[in-house]
């Protein structure tokens, strides 16, 4: 994918067999047998089979799959709460499957924080003590522990609850404590195992938003497990889709929606509200022609005629968008004998950035018929979106 990003965790050919003799099960797997047959023949369950993917530094990677897909097993293989049967897992070049027990503890302390589906808070500890747990385990001095735990509680909005006990808090607040415990630890990777699945839908959405905000602030490498595609699409930078212990597809939410790898993925995404996830980028077309600010009105008009369009976007030398020139205005300029088109441009058009949801674009078309300009942060013109393309994209995704 993106070569400029550092790989934080490499997962290569990882398999997990639940049973006494993994070798026999893997041998059958290599002969092309699937999970049910292997279970029947050996009495062992093939939990994961030949999983490979990368987790990039600072990204939020979602591993998604239904129950039995092996996602919980997979996340536990990363910090070796479950031992793998074959394959390699590397974090910063540290080979996790072969670590000694002592080195494994050290690796977990340094690299992994974990947030659990049912919170897994310690009922005999206060909120503050819970948030300190990872630091306490690492033997950090009490004063510093206290400071860091308070900071992370502030980050998740739990000021003033330090001395409460977990059973005095609502589910959403308990999971905030779980998150604070993970953040205080300052490990390099955050593992979230169905972290929001036990929460009410509304609170869940809130937590997703907050996680995204935290993520944009802290850029923490995060591996997030979920069975909920909406959640995966909403928060994931990339998604690894699992089915029956195998990877079905790896890609950005948009890849998954627009280019489903197979029928399974296609059926999966049927229930999703696509317009919310599709963005201007997916419906964007290259600009057929632009005018330069230095062009005279005649040149601009000729370009419009050549491409049979009745308006043209005007940019400077760096493709920075300056305005829109309509054919009528160009004619006026010629009649008035103007040398440049500067004074005849209009700003009365819509411009959006690439991540604007398609749904919003749809509303913009109702009042103006100009193509919508798509720009980047430097105001450079990247392309245009026409009404037909939006409809087309929505329709195609809806198939």
């Amino acid at each position: 994918m993106d070569e400029t990003r550092n790989v934080k965790i490499q997962v290569r050919g990882v398999s997990k067999v639940f049973g006494k003799n993994p070798k026999s099960a893997l041998k059958l797997r290599d002969q092309g047998l699937k999970r049910p047959e292997i279970l029947e023949k050996t009495g062992q369950t093939l939990g994961l089979s030949d999983i490979s993917f990368d987790v990039y530094e600072g990204e939020l990677l979602v591993i998604m799959g239904l129950s039995g897909s092996g996602k919980s097993t997979l996340i536990r293989c990363l910090n070796r709460l479950i031992d793998t049967s074959e394959g390699d897992i590397l974090i910063d070049d540290e080979h996790i499957p072969s670590l000694s027990e002592k080195a494994l503890l050290e690796c977990r302390r340094r690299h992994f924080s974990m947030v659990f589906q049912n919170f897994a808070l310690f009922p005999h500890k206060t909120v503050l003590q819970n948030a300190q747990f990872g630091l306490e385990i690492r033997g950090i001095a009490p004063a510093e522990r206290d400071k860091k735990a308070r900071e992370s509680l502030t980050q998740v909005g739990l000021d003033g609850w330090e001395d409460a006990y977990p059973n005095q808090l609502s589910g959403g607040m308990q999971q905030r404590v779980g998150l604070a415990r993970a953040l205080a630890n300052d490990a390099s990777v955050l593992l979230m195992d169905e972290a929001f699945s036990a929460l009410d839908p509304l609170i869940r959405k809130d937590m997703q938003q907050e996680l995204l905000q935290l993520q944009s602030r802290m850029q923490k490498t995060t591996v997030f497990i979920t069975h909920d595609l909406d959640e995966a699409l909403n928060i994931g930078d990339r998604i690894v889709l699992l089915k029956d212990g195998e990877v079905v597809q790896i890609g950005t939410p948009e890849d998954i929606l627009t280019k489903p790898a197979d029928d399974y993925v296609r059926r999966f995404i049927e229930g999703v509200d696509r317009s919310r996830i599709l963005t201007a980028e997916s419906a964007m077309r290259p600009v057929r022609s632009t005018a330069r600010e230095s062009d005279g009105p005649r040149t601009a008009l000729r370009r419009m005629r050549d491409h049979s369009i009745d308006s043209i976007y005007v940019t400077d030398r760096d493709r920075k968008l300056l305005g829109l020139l309509e054919a009528d205005a160009a004619s006026h300029a010629i009649e008035a004998g103007a040398d440049t088109i500067n004074e005849y441009m209009t700003q009365d058009f819509r411009k959006v950035t690439t991540d604007e949801p398609l749904q919003n674009l749809f509303a913009m078309f109702s009042d103006k018929s100009f193509p919508i300009a798509v720009i980047d942060e430097q105001q450079r013109l990247l392309g245009v979106v026409v009404k037909g393309a939006v409809l087309d994209e929505l329709a195609r995704a809806g198939e």
Binding site: R108, R109, M114, F116, F122, P123, G134, I137
Partner: protein, 276 residues
């Protein structure tokens, strides 16, 4: 046809004889130490005037449980005092406290080990069943050759008889700690020791306390029975009443045992409840 009976009893007896002669040095040492402990604690409790001890116990009940228990305990103790059973009560209390201490000190590590090792668990559980179902009196018999007639034998038999619940409850308490909490501790890189002392033991504390409560109750019942091998205390009052056929004296001592039992029970229960 006459099937010869297996000489089980003979084997056990010769085994015990061998043990007594081979390890007499050890048993005598244990006897000496225990005797000193009993003497010291007993003297200490006796040195306190009855009203002072009564006040201490009432205060303890007040702090740990409720004013109601404090009043009840004070009234009960006052009754014992009034009946002239104060000294035997103190002797019984001494035996209970020492036997419980010894039993708990041995039981908790065993309980922890059994909780953490499935193999040990399988070995220990049948032994506990044996210890608990064997009629309590039987323990008194081998105690005598080991430690002679008196309080030390009583303690020995009492410890064996009262230890099982403390072991069982400790094991149960640790095994009951939710797996997800263990997983959380593991995920943050906790060592076995950290897991045990920061998670498993604190969370199993209420259950362990319930086990200790059971141990105390069993110890109390046993030290009363141990009067048969010469242990002092309320038991010997009952024993004397039986021999002289004086039901009134017997019931007075019996009621004193009940009062002591209730105070100890409620007090230790409140300790286990007041924790999270």
């Amino acid at each position: 046809m006459d099937i010869p009976s297996i000489p089980l009893g003979y084997w056990i007896e010769s085994g015990l004889t061998w043990l007594t002669s081979e390890y007499s040095l050890i048993t005598r040492a244990i006897s000496r130490v225990t005797q000193t402990g009993i003497g010291g604690l007993n003297d200490g409790l006796m040195w306190l005037p009855p009203w002072a001890l009564l006040a201490i116990i009432a205060l303890l009940c007040w702090k740990a449980a409720s004013p109601r228990l404090a009043i009840g305990a004070a009234a009960g103790m006052a009754l014992i005092w009034n009946l002239g059973l104060w000294d035997p009560m103190i002797e019984t209390l001494t035996l209970v406290v020492i036997a419980t201490l010894v039993a708990v000190v041995m039981a908790i590590p065993v309980g922890i080990a059994a909780a953490l090792s499935q193999r040990l668990y399988r070995v220990i559980m049948p032994i506990l069943d044996f210890m608990q179902t064997m009629p309590a009196f039987v323990y008194l018999i081998p105690a005598i050759p080991f430690f002679g007639i008196g309080s030390v034998s009583a303690i020995f038999a009492t410890v064996i008889f009262s230890m099982p619940p403390a072991i069982r409850f400790t094991t149960l308490g640790i095994r009951q700690v939710p797996v997800e909490l263990i997983e959380a501790a593991d995920a943050y890189g906790a060592t076995r020791g950290q897991k045990l002392f920061k998670v498993q033991l604190p969370l199993s504390l209420p259950t362990v306390m319930a086990g200790i409560n059971q141990t105390i109750m069993l110890a109390l019942s046993m030290v009363v029975i141990a009067a048969m091998i010469g242990a002092d205390g309320l038991g010997s009052e009952v024993w004397r009443a039986i021999q002289r056929l004086r039901p009134g004296d017997g019931f007075e001592a019996g009621i004193a045992v009940v009062i002591l039992a209730m105070v100890l029970d409620r007090l230790t229960q409140s300790f286990s409840k007041s924790r999270r």
